[in-house]
Symmetry: C2
């Protein structure tokens, strides 16, 4: 009876995220989680009834933090194009500090194992898209972005680019600096988005 349940639950969530970041083929099993947290395997199930509940808590953690970054940058001040650029960079910077995130969010394994999680991921992606689309609409109204942009389509494509980029980073075992890619992305996006 060393720590409270809440502390342990947080530790377990963090353990899963760290395990996902390790590419040594280690699976995210109750045993592996327990070893990482420093408790016995059955104790894991004292804090979460089932493995699915653990993954659910992990997705919630990711959603909270990932959308937190996006939201705070998008809601900032300054011209829309500058905020979008900041959003890209801050997002990539955050992900690069939490290597487990893409492997958890985009692993089909997880989705196959738990259909509920697929819905949760969908909802995160939708919220993300909506935030970016709102930022694009602001920019269109202000005359910064091209008037003929479809805000939703464009937001979805920007998200797709980030996803694909992060996946390449993950497949290449994090061997390049993810935040640097924000500038590369912006070089492609700028002439596509900006008015004139």
């Amino acid at each position: 009876m060393r720590k409270t349940g809440e502390q342990r639950r947080e530790e377990i969530v963090q353990a899963v995220i760290h395990l996902a970041a390790e590419n040594d083929g280690g699976q995210i099993t109750a045993q592996a989680i327990a070893e990482r947290v420093g408790i016995a395997q059955p104790t894991v199930f004292r804090h979460f009834k089932t493995r699915d509940r653990i993954l659910q808590a992990v997705i919630e953690w990711i959603a909270r933090h990932l959308l937190g970054v996006v939201g705070s940058v998008a809601a900032g001040s300054g011209p829309a194009d500058e905020r979008l650029r900041q959003l890209l960079e801050q997002q990539l910077r955050f992900i690069s500090k939490h290597r487990g995130l893409p492997r958890l969010l985009f692993s089909e394994r997880l989705h196959q194992e738990n259909t509920q999680l697929k819905g949760a991921v969908s909802r995160i992606m939708d919220a993300y898209t909506n935030t970016v689309a709102g930022l694009l609409r602001e920019g269109i109204d202000d005359g910064v972005f091209r008037a003929d942009l479809d805000a939703d389509d464009t937001a979805r494509l920007i998200l797709a680019m980030i996803q694909g980029l992060v996946m390449r980073w993950s497949i290449h075992e994090f061997h390049f600096e993810l935040p640097n890619e924000a500038e590369t992305m912006w070089r492609l996006l700028e002439p596509a988005l900006l008015n004139r």
Copy 2:
């Protein structure tokens, strides 16, 4: 002794691709493969020594066909921008006919289980990027595409966009027409790539 080994191996590869396309949570196990092919489970291992060998053969099949599409369109005639547009559409059309492909190529499950496969996926992505980059360079030389484009960076981002798009399609359980998205993509890409 109904069929030859080669026939059975091809059937097994196809079974895996079809199993991956099913979103009912079914796993790609030797048992599931055997049932689909219509043989006993141990017979699967008569044709492939291990499960990894099966997945390797599957990745090879995917590489051959996926890169076949890209290569034939890229090597065609006509202006580079038209060929790139065609490439996007044909690529998405091909993937939409083989729903299992993204779930196999991008599933972390596969990568965690077998590091060799990760390399194979990397190689497919590199070959893909090189083909697109070549097409971009042609267009730049012909004055169709902007001269200040970095062909490699741009090719990687286009691939990333396709990957992210296909992933959204997969997460949304194939509920939208993938090939239609080629036009949406092109609307964003055109002003970013074309000269003037």
